[in-house]
Symmetry: C2
Subunit: 343 residues, 2 copies
């Protein structure tokens, strides 16, 4: 099969790899229908996380189950499945508590136990604990929104849930990438009365509005803080979604939070300093992390199939898998919000 391998900074290649096969009783092999490139894939792509040796990449995909191990019970060949971005056993105490990203037997894609997602096929263990099947094979038009449940929509949902968004809230979303935009959608679905998106890119502003943003602020840093305080009569936001992971984005998130608010964070932290004094003085909480998309998948899948949400709109480019390298370039240069790959 063909699969994407990252060799180093700015060097991803589609290569021939061994066809995957069932090794264990809990395994599944999935024929990929669509996969995509994640903002977090750009960290190694940009050289900010070093690539020690070439490895398969990609952790978001949907597809058709091709083959299963002898003990797999919840999916069968022919099923259309969504794969969350982490493989989890589904049975350990952390999985049972709904935090599958902390699974005691967690497996990452592109490792010796599971193929990378940006390829033609993916073999993975713990199929029952990981994959979620649709009731029937969905119309192709729904593929982008189902694919978004692999990561970005579940992650945006986790940001809003971690920030404890509730009906009537004023919510600020820091970050206008695919996750931030899904955070806008999530906050809106949770009944937030006002959803303020920080964005200075016109196409992203437009999508934020489609997803339910009531206000768009193009300011950054101190100016963004001042603008939010002006919007909220000096009080600040009831909940803040931090969807970037940089020092500046975290600072802004705390700056705009009102006393007693929670910052829900889902951006992988890079150089972040937590302002513990502000947290103490104003009782602003910090909560979040690697999103347990598996926990949210059943409900969000039902919402997508019912036409209630359409997170697939974050994909503003669809290209053949053969052009995966161009997809990375487009996302790196911010010409695309998120790139969908078709094998």
């Amino acid at each position: 099969m063909r699969a994407t391998v990252i060799h180093g900074a700015f060097d991803v290649r589609l290569e021939d790899r061994p066809d995957p096969k069932i090794d264990g009783p809990g395994d599944a092999v999935v024929k990929v229908v669509a996969s995509c490139i994640c903002g977090s894939d750009l960290w190694p792509y940009r050289g900010e996380n070093p690539v020690k040796q070439p490895r398969p990449i990609g952790h978001e995909f949907v597809g058709i189950v091709e083959e299963i191990g002898s003990e797999v019970r919840t999916v069968k060949p022919g099923d259309f499945v969504v794969a969350p971005f982490v493989v989890s056993d589904g049975t350990c105490p952390h999985c049972q508590a709904g935090f599958q990203t902390a699974c005691q037997n967690r497996v990452g894609y592109g490792s010796d136990k599971a193929d990378g997602g940006q390829g033609e096929y993916v073999k993975l263990p713990y199929a029952d604990g990981t994959l979620v099947a649709t009731p029937e094979v969905p119309d192709d038009s729904l593929v982008p929104s189902l694919l978004a449940l692999s990561d970005v929509m579940g992650t945006g949902w986790h940001a809003a849930r971690s920030a404890r968004v509730k009906a009537g809230d004023t919510v600020v979303v820091v970050g206008d990438g695919a996750v931030g935009l899904c955070g806008v959608l999530a906050a809106s679905r949770m009944g937030a009365e006002r959803v303020v998106a920080l964005s200075r890119h016109e196409p992203r502003q437009k999508l934020a509005k489609e997803f339910g943003a009531t206000d768009i602020l193009s300011e950054r840093g101190d100016a963004a803080r001042d603008a939010v305080l002006e919007l909220t009569k000096g009080v600040g936001a009831d909940a803040v979604l931090e969807c970037v992971g940089t020092k500046q984005s975290m600072t802004t998130a705390f700056d705009v939070a009102r006393a007693g608010a929670t910052v829900g964070f889902v951006g992988v932290p890079h150089g972040v300093e937590v302002p513990i004094g502000t947290m103490f003085g104003r009782n602003v909480g910090l909560n979040g992390g690697a999103a347990p998309c598996r926990a949210y998948l059943p409900d969000l899948m039902a919402d997508v199939l019912a036409g209630e949400i359409d997170p697939g709109k974050v994909f503003d480019a669809q290209i053949p898998l053969a052009e995966v390298a161009d997809g990375y370039t487009a996302m790196h240069e911010r010409r695309a919000i998120k790139v969908l790959l078709r094998p």
Copy 2:
């Protein structure tokens, strides 16, 4: 009147101060029945927070209302009142949301607007937003438990509430000072099934058990982490109360938290580094800060008057106000958990 003034490290003195009088329509003057020394008073006492100039000290007291301003409506002369450790207006958005410690017009005791608590009388503004009266003047035996509602019991309660303790939880309490002990009591009241207190001091261990601790661990640091993990079959605690505020206590708190848990923190942070990577990877939240004791006072007062809780047990020494300097020494040397002062 006589009141306690801190002059510098290890130098507190009982001095003559002007008798307080009503200045504004929202003021009250309270004749102090009992006050006490706080763990946070030890920071300036030990010279860890510099004392720039002599100032009245103390922020926990109960007493009888002596006089009120023309617009005070909720307390009247002769009422027995509990004063939370911060003066709050009761009307700003933060007070209305139950975060009175972030009041937009917050006033500290021992400032030019309110007297220190360790004295014979205290004048304060915003009496309606701050003081809570008992239905009738209580029996003297209840004074310690009512005084505990000024700070330590409300703060312990806030730690448990910030950590989102729920029925059936396994809760670890880091810190065996008066606040930590009250945190044990709070977690127990909230229905925690297992309350693990970290303590190596026999009298504190005993009180922790009286307050509902099911397990006492005398280990510290990595050994404490290992002991908690052994108790919880490698999973960790559902909720952790961080009631100290040092780097080591915060590290231990995160080390023993299970994935998806929340660390509720109420110790004023000194040199604390927040392990953002752990928070992200295991979805461990951090939530808390200066406790809005005012918000909890009505319910906790009802519990004390009904004999449901007796947080006053944290006072293991009662001395005349004249001996306040000895009280500081006793607490500094950890000979006393918490010292009650009678004017």
